[in-house]
């Protein structure tokens, strides 16, 4: 259905007329409605598009006399578009009707909006903090408001977070974290069990909250270095999404050669992370040999990253309107020969994994996430593709990926085995893609120096190795950032993890966790 039809129907069915429809970029449409119609419009759009809510956030526009605004966006794959539903919020009555009863995945975003802006999603009953923990942060300080000043006093003693309580005979709780036994990020996991199976898992995050979104404000496109540190193992994905948004606002062309080099980096990042995860899955069921083997493959790719671009995590490669480092012939030869070497190793790894019936038995049917749950929770990326949803931004906004005949890797079982398979298939596809990219890459410059900063809004996106990384940016006249909203796929996917372990035993949690391998810092920002 096209957009006009949809607006007509919205008027007919719900008596809602759009106040304005903007199309600042070919792939972004903004529908503005009255605050009172916001909820109905979102529900309508979601039903029509049958797409998950991909982001929801607020913006402080009081300096321009516009109060606040709430925006939420949907990916409309058939139209190759992002559709935003937006409403203004007055300063005097900072509230809007909660979407969480019609769009489940909005719930977390609304809690974020409440604590960051002090805007009330009326009807969202979960009043707990998300990242600003009530033990450490006094009430009434909203960091993303423009007139925010940091609190001078600590939080009142005695504040605590109300975990969901499971009651009944024989129910016990196992709290884990935030400091874990391994070398790993901080998060608190609370299992409620009766006997062996997990009845409820509650994940409390926010421990790595560093206030990244606020730090972007006032900076220019050079803030790409900050984007790279939001989730360091996904530095390329974040840098690409950030730069994409800035380039759209500044109307800057990216030279084709740079597009290819960026894609090579994105695929290298996917490869080293997937290799690490496959090893992690093996390790977490006690299969140590392949895990050591994966560590070797990961190390080989990261060493290659350094030889090609000077950084093991590929930080510092992507910059606004291009890349900071070109690949000369010598490096391309190195890349080619190592790719062959790496795929030989990988084929061997695959043989070893598949030759072990007990390993496959261990991951098969473990931690199943149903497609329906994926859709309800707004889970995306690898975890969604393993449950039969074959959404991949590389396919939708294809460009050079289409020329390379990119294939989406999807499975349907939704268990750890399926997630493992998606990773294996994506690794192999990445090797193939890079080979194609090297072949198709034109010569020429790798950076467009003529950028002219200006005002505007834009959504930047990239299919990182975990899934879609989204950066929505609003810039002022001098090109500086006024608001930057970051959504890493981990943010909603943590919910998927909490669901997939229900009914499993606690010792299965590590392997389920590894099969998602989500980012703490990307989620906490």
């Amino acid at each position: 259905m096209d957009l006009r039809e949809m607006l007509v129907q919205l008027k007919q069915d719900h008596n809602v007329s759009a106040l304005a429809v903007d199309e600042p970029h070919r792939d972004e449409t903004y529908i503005w409605v009255d605050n009172r119609d916001f909820r109905a419009t979102v529900a309508f759009v979601q039903k029509k598009l049958r797409a998950p809510l991909s982001m929801m956030f607020c913006q402080d526009r009081r300096a321009a006399g516009g109060g606040f605004a709430v925006l939420c966006s949907f990916l409309c794959a058939p139209l190759k578009k992002w559709l935003f539903v937006c409403a203004s919020i007055s300063e005097e009555a900072p509230r809007f009707d909660s979407l969480s009863s019609v769009v489940y995945s909005a719930g977390l975003f609304e809690r974020e909006i409440r604590e960051m802006f002090g805007i009330e999603p009326c009807g969202n009953s979960d009043a707990r903090g998300l990242r600003l923990h009530e033990e450490n942060w006094p009430a009434g300080f909203f960091p993303l408001r423009k007139d925010f000043t940091p609190p001078s006093a600590a939080a009142a003693p005695g504040n605590h977070y109300g975990f969901t309580r499971v009651e009944g005979e024989g129910v016990f709780e196992v709290p884990v974290g935030p400091v874990h036994a391994g070398v790993i990020g901080p998060g608190h996991f609370r299992f409620s069990s009766a006997g062996e199976p997990v009845i409820n898992l509650e994940i409390r995050l926010g421990f790595t909250h560093r206030g990244a979104e606020k730090l972007f404000e006032g900076r220019h496109s050079d803030a790409v270095n900050l984007a790279e540190c939001v989730a360091g193992d996904s530095a390329v994905g974040h840098a690409l999404a950030f730069c994409h948004a800035m380039e759209k606002i500044y109307k800057a062309e990216v030279p084709l050669r740079a597009v290819y080099i960026r894609a090579i980096c994105l695929e290298l990042e996917r490869m080293y992370n997937h290799a690490g995860d496959i090893g992690g899955i093996a390790l977490d069921v006690g299969f140590t040999f392949p895990s050591a083997f994966c560590a070797l493959i990961k190390e080989k790719i990261q060493a290659l990253n350094r030889d090609l671009f000077g950084h093991r995590f590929l930080k510092g490669v992507v910059c606004c309107a291009g890349v900071a480092k070109d690949l000369d012939d010598k490096r391309i030869r190195l890349l080619k020969s190592l790719l062959e070497d790496i795929s030989r190793d990988f084929a061997e790894l695959k043989r070893i994994l598949h030759a072990s019936a007990s390993f496959i038995d261990r991951v098969d049917t473990t931690g199943v996430l149903k497609r329906k749950t994926v859709e309800d929770l707004g889970v995306s990326g690898v975890a969604a593709r393993a449950s039969g949803l074959n959404t991949d931004l590389r396919k939708i906004f294809n460009g050079i990926y289409e020329i390379a005949r990119f294939r989406v890797c999807a499975e349907s079982a939704g268990d750890t085995h399926a997630r493992l398979h998606v990773r294996i298939a994506e690794f192999e596809e990445s090797v193939r893609l890079i080979t194609e990219f090297i072949h198709n890459m034109p010569s020429g410059s790798v950076r467009n120096e003529a950028i002219s900063p200006g005002a505007g809004v834009a959504l930047g996106y990239a299919e990182g190795w975990r899934g879609p990384v989204l950066y929505w940016i609003a810039a002022r006249n001098d090109g500086s950032i006024d608001r930057c909203k970051v959504v890493d796929p981990s943010f909603l996917n943590w919910q998927g993890l909490a669901y997939c372990v229900l009914g499993e035993i606690i010792p299965d949690f590590p392997v389920c966790n590894k099969s998602f391998d989500l980012s703490y810092s990307g989620s906490d920002l």
């Binding site: 450490n136 606020k214 995590f313």
Partner: protein
Amino acid sequence: MIDILKTRLVKGVVTKRIAASKTAVYEPAGAQLKALIAEKFGRSLNIREVDTGSCAACESEIIACNNPIYDLSRFGVNFVASPRHADCLLVTGPVSKNMAQALRSTYDAMPEPKFVITLGDCAFDGGPFKGSYYIENGAKSIVPVALHIPGCPPDPETIINSLLNFLRI
């Protein structure tokens, strides 16, 4: 199983084969480190790592120190699961407000003598997040720091060399 054995026989000891190019610098440094640890700590140096809000790249490099190529544990450096078993606390991340207490408690739980190493620019002074409303700008304000390993993130070779230089003093 047969596959594993076959691979094992064909490949030999993987660490040696692949580490060949690095041996020139890395191995002697490792040997020295091992000797120093034996001299100063008896047998081994046990490290407890705490992430106070890192971007995960620093963790990834610490883990890489234990991959079959660098294999830091053969020089006597172990990463342990409990602060009670640790000689050294290794801190990454800029110390978010939510982790300040956890960092303090972890440090307090360690037996004396103990020392703290910060790893990565974040842990030094907040790095790219310096000045944010929700961080403590590094670990110094919470625990006494004996050594800082710079980088964003420092790679495995830098980590072992820094340890070595530190223990030489």
